[in-house]
């Protein structure tokens, strides 16, 4: 316990990195998820197919493999494109960017499934009614679709977020100084890895506990007007 207190500074720093990584990935995944959901529901067959290829691809490749491919391969790829076109020289993709891109990409696919289900759960008549009174597509999305979509999507969204938070631990493998990496190096130098790993687990449980609380409040806000059984 005393050791943990001595190293509190780098543990707190690591926790902040982990949290910011998770939040940024979540934002990216929501954007990708919305695009993916609308692609899957679009009347165009090509877009629908692209949407399902996205989901199938993400489901079949483990996250760490994709992360390493983006971190190690992406660097070379971007630099090669730069030297081919002569537009830019050496560009470095750091671990944080690679982590956000990978996690956002992966969870975007899961989010797109979540949002697709939520949009389908909105009665079709409401959208027809909105069109009938002359709302523009953006207005329909903002006033009719979005508030109810959030309500229907929230349970599955919560689940995705919790899995996402746990997946952030993987960025320590490509060397980002997140909570796991910092705790690991602290544990290495003090020969107390069990203590430090237990501390990491506690931090993750606290993060998930707090997000559970926040999401319950959001749920209450968006469930206004729903009669609970």
């Amino acid at each position: 316990m005393v050791v943990i207190f001595e190293y509190r500074q780098i543990l707190i720093e690591g926790t902040l990195v982990t949290i910011s990584l998770a939040v940024l990935s979540l934002l990216l995944s929501v954007v990708l998820g919305l695009i993916g959901a609308f692609a899957k529901l679009s009347p165009s067959r090509g877009l629908r197919r692209a949407g399902s290829v996205y989901t199938i691809f993400v489901r079949s490749v483990p996250d760490l493999v994709l992360m390493m491919l983006i971190f190690f391969g992406g660097q070379t790829f971007v630099t090669q494109i730069g030297s081919l076109t002569g537009l830019w020289g050496y560009i470095e993709i750091n671990q944080f960017v690679a982590g956000v891109l990978t996690l956002g990409f992966i969870f975007g696919a899961y989010m797109s499934e979540t949002f697709r289900g939520a949009i389908l759960a909105i009665p079709r008549g409401q959208i027809e009614a909105a069109m009938a009174i002359g709302m523009k597509p953006w207005q329909i999305f903002r006033i009719v679709t979005w508030p109810q979509m959030v309500r229907f999507a929230l349970p599955s969204f919560t689940n995705n977020w919790l899995v996402l938070v746990k997946s952030t631990a993987l960025v320590s493998v490509i060397g980002l100084h997140d909570l796991v990496w910092n705790a690991f190096s602290a544990g290495r130098s003090t020969h107390k890895l069990f203590t430090f790993m237990t501390a990491v687990m506690v931090v993750y449980l606290v993060i998930t506990g707090i997000s559970d609380l926040i999401l319950r409040i959001v749920d209450r806000k968006y469930a206004a007007g729903v009669r609970r059984a």
Partner: protein, 261 residues
Amino acid sequence: MEPERTFFEYLQSFSEAKSPIDFVLIYDNLGRFFDGALVTLQLTFLALLVGGLIAVPLAIARAYRKLFFSPVIRVYTYVFCGTPLLVQVYLFYFGLGQFKAVQESFLWDPILSSPWWCVVIAFTLNTAAYTTEFMRGAIETTPHGEVEAAKASGMSALTRMRLVILPNAFRRSLPAYSNEVIFTLHGSVIASTVTLQDLLGVGRWLNGRYYLAYEGFLTAMIFYMAIVLLITVALRLAEKRLLGHLRPRETSSSAAARVAA
């Protein structure tokens, strides 16, 4: 004047110098990737098998809350479902050595100091925790009528569990279990972080050895995709067979609609 070359030598030089991906090198190391795939599959299925066996009694205990150890199991599943698998693997592989008692115990030399066993233990406990939770849900949602019917026909509690509740709960949890199988496979890449040569481990080895950027990871990725495809197809067949009675029955009008479409 270029010297005469065999077709393979031509391919080799093209692959090394011109193409962005050195596919001849991948071809040369394909055997290692198959070994890696074997390690991945071993880890995944061993964990799933043992984890599933552990999960059944735990799920029953959780579903019938009266048993006093239900809260203890809840703490176990909460901790293992709420923390990253990577940290759990680190806890077992690097963490246990912190204690003198563990290092001196008879288990240390054959099991707890080997990365393979530590990974298997961590994976098993992890998948058992997830399986326990969704199987508990399946047991709890057993229709009351089924239990009543079993009671009415004079089955004892054990027979009821064995013949009515468990088989139906297994069936209903099959879709969730398909996800769990895929996630366990995805999680198995973590084995490569503790020096095991699984698929990703081989990919990392190849990239490190020849100083490459994509080849190892791309090959590993294709292998993973193939494995997931096979597992998905197999599980879908199982679902079709075991959950066939729950599918919407094909009526003559729906068949006609399909022909028309």
